[in-house]
Amino acid sequence: MTVTEDRTSAGRIGDAPPRKEDAHLITGQTSWTDNIQAAGMLTMAFVRSPMAHARISSIDTSEAAATENVVAVFTGADFADECASLPCAWPVTEDMKLPAHPPMAIDTVRHAGDPVAVVVARDRYSAADAAEKVVVDYEPLPAVVDLEDALRDEVLVHDELGTNTSYFFSMPTGADVDETFAKADVVVKRRFIQQRLLPTPLEPRATACLASPAAGDFTLYSSTQVPHILRLMLAAITGIPEQKIRVVAPDVGGGFGSKLQVYGEEVISLLVARRLGRPVKWTETRSESFLTMHHGRGQIQDIEIAATNEGKLLGLKVDLVADMGAYLMLVTPGIPILGAFMYPAIYKMDAYRFNCTGVFTTKTPTDAYRGAGRPEATFAIERIMDELAEELDMDPLELRRMNWIRHEEFPYETVAGLTYDTGNYEAATDRAMELFGYDELRREQEERRTRGDAVQLGIGISTFTEMCGLAPSRVLGNLSFGSGGWEAATVRVLATGKVQVVTGTSPHGQGHETAWSQIAATTLGIPFEDVEVLHGDTAVSPMGLDTYGSRSLAVGGIALQRAALKVVAKAKKLAAHLLEAAEDDIDFQDGTFSVKGSPTAAKTFQEVAMAAFVAHDYPEDMEPDLTGHAVFDPENFSYPHGTHLCAVEVDTETGRPTIRKYVCVDDVGTVVNPQIVEGQVHGGLAQGIAQALYEGAVYDADGNLVTGTLVDYLVPAAPDLPEFITDRTVTPADNELGVKGVGEAGTIASTPAVVNAIVDAVRHLGVQDVEMPCTPERVWRAIQHGRNGGAR
């Protein structure tokens, strides 16, 4: 069936045509990795460590291997000679400790869920049954779960390293921080805890590998955000030449950073298919996913801010302890470093020092989760701005207003060394306050306090910015990152004037097929429906750096526009030839090439496309081809910003916080598709609010993940979230499309807005902070603690 639209004029930049992606998703005609079937396809099931830390004494696979329908059982040792360690692409310091990380553990397991063997069987039930029959003898070792315990090095996660500290990263910038603090009127210091989060895309990880070992050809389907990076890394790990590996990201059911990874299971899929010469498939269960898909956040943040009595900010000190988990995965050590640049946020100050210690624990590795380092930074600075306002007895909005970069001061070089290109914090804040009814809510808050109501009201503010659009390649080089940050696009013109856009971005819910069609249709002056967007397959799109870090539009979208402009330039040359006019005399508008001054002498884009195809008549100095290809490497990051205001009612008798009103005004620059942008904001808000109120990965002292299923880990459902009031201001970014990233903005901004509101509601009861997630119990305990004058 065809989804038909009656929106002939829609489909240009700024319009909101409904998404091209939807038709197959709403009808179930999907291509998730687990849907892939092939003759003789086998299913894998992993045997995983039930312990956080143990030496493997022995593995007996004989009974499993002898089970009906089981084709093979492999252990880590079976592949030890066929693969290198899983990669870490970001050595953040020269002396960073990088432990070996085999795709399957060989002699030691270091977190619950570490794989030790894989069963390959005819179907998923047989594989799961046989996995139960693999007998592993473990010699238990002590777990180390708490970050500060880990720093003491009493229990080592990796004996051979001699320490649990992976790295110490220090970035002092601007004036001398210690001198600045010594001279300050006011210094406020706080410790905030960023709890671990489970990213939980609705589609768990899955792989399907089709292999012809005889020919040396391998195709790996994976539910990944990064097919291009994965191909390169699989080649590096296995030694299979890069050109012999094809990676396909078919329909991918969400990622949020968790599928920006090179997972051991992906490597094992390839190696098993090579060993057996048969197609193999693997799909994790949700509980397996919680143990083994990388986690997000996990930091202790000590933050100190210095100001004058009048509220002028002077300096900022940040000391982090960041939980790496058991191994360094693709970007693990770099996540807190992405935050390093964002603690000064939108504020002017002269001195800044960021320190971070990355530490190993016997837990699942951490890595990128929506925002990746920047939500943590934004939380800490926006929380401590409220604490400073309290110390100075100022309105927290006024404190922000007197310290933020004013719109006429852009471009502005921050104390952290970034140059913010554009922004207008005043406009976004004014609009947010208007939508929120700030003054009325403050009045109501005062009345409730005066009456001593059981349900108190709090207002939370977050005036955030973030760096995204990852990333300028030279900057990444300076930060020792193992890759560039460019993006590629190709526009192919077919004989009929229809167009195929090949993009290196790899969408998994973001709507690139729709938005990219709008960019191509606008640039080429052709119907939105005439554009087809191809992505997520290294055989179709050989060049790309994939989708993460709110980079796709701000980098890939600009690459696409450049490629389309190259098509226009070629087509213009051919049109001029056909019209017997000079190229300079050709106008191009709405898909038609015409001779200046004689508009009837014209060729449509489609006519020019056909002329290029038949090639009967074209200039001698060009090839009969209109293809445009571009690689765009940005010169700067993109800096979306916004003001988020949250009103929370706290029942002081039960501790239960309820969001009463949530307003956000985001500035993401020029908007290609407002419906998609709004959807991204909604989803981002949901995840940021979830960190504030609901989610937290909990480990017990032995390193068991207590929140191991979706019953125990609270991903919010529809009744758990409020209706959001959203609006935008538009301050175009300093790039060709004027666009900024949007994918992470809502998540980065919303968490501190919610927690600030909760603290604001009960601050008069002696509460200074509530640790996340702010469950009713935690809020209630904070109130009791406050009422007792701080005594436990």
Binding site: M1, T2, V3, P18, R19, E21, D22, A23, L25, I26, T27, G28, Q29, T30, W32, D34, N35, Q37, D123, R124, Y125, T200, P201, L202, E203, P204, D251, V252, G253, G254, F256, T283, T285, R286, S287, H508, G509, Q510, G511, Q675, I676, E678, G679, Q680, H682, G683, G684, L685, A686, Q687, T709, L710, V711, V715, A717, A718, P719, L721, E723, F724
Partner: protein, 169 residues
């Protein structure tokens, strides 16, 4: 093995299944009806929601043998004569999906909701769908989609399909 006969999206299938086979695995692996997804192993997420004899069921929580002799409607049988069901159309129009993995279950749960309440409030939609998780949308556009579909259905723009009339799209 047990022999079962299911009517799925209007087609009658007879198969021998292991008694422990979950309905969703039977649909996906044996019948190749991969429109219905699996998102968890604790009946928490609702991605696998289908209808059995006209009522919504999490198909990871039912054995295939329990569906013997019954009529199953999946997302793949919801469109009629090449026309989208009003719920499918509304999810599209209101941008009620992003990655789309929760969508089949979300639409089937919404259909059950509307079968029991033709004109739900926002709050009733939110509570009616609390057994279905979406990680992308923040639910706001899902609520909007369900209410738009409710209006379409009440105005007769395509009747809600009984299970027996489902045809593969």
């Amino acid at each position: 093995m047990a022999r079962i006969t299911l009517t799925v999206d209007g087609t009658v299938y007879t198969d021998d299944v292991e008694p422990r086979t979950l309905l969703v695995h039977h649909l996906r692996d044996a019948l190749g009806l991969t429109g219905t997804n699996v998102g968890c192993d604790t009946s928490s997420c609702g991605a696998c929601t289908v209808h059995v004899d006209g009522l919504s069921v999490k198909s990871c929580t039912m054995l295939a043998v329990q569906a013997d002799g019954r009529e199953v409607l999946t997302i793949q049988g919801l469109a009629q004569d090449g026309r989208l069901h009003p719920l499918q159309q509304a999810f599209h129009d209101a941008h009620g999906l992003q990655c789309g993995y929760c969508t089949p279950g979300m639409i089937m749960a919404s259909l059950d909701l509307l079968n029991h309440n033709a004109d739900p409030t926002d709050d009733e939609v939110r509570h009616g769908l609390e057994g279905n998780l979406c990680r992308c949308t923040g639910y706001q556009n899902i609520v909007k989609a369900v209410r738009q579909a409710a209006v379409s259905i009440r105005q007769g723009e395509g009747a809600t399909a009984p299970a027996s009339e489902g045809v593969p799209a």
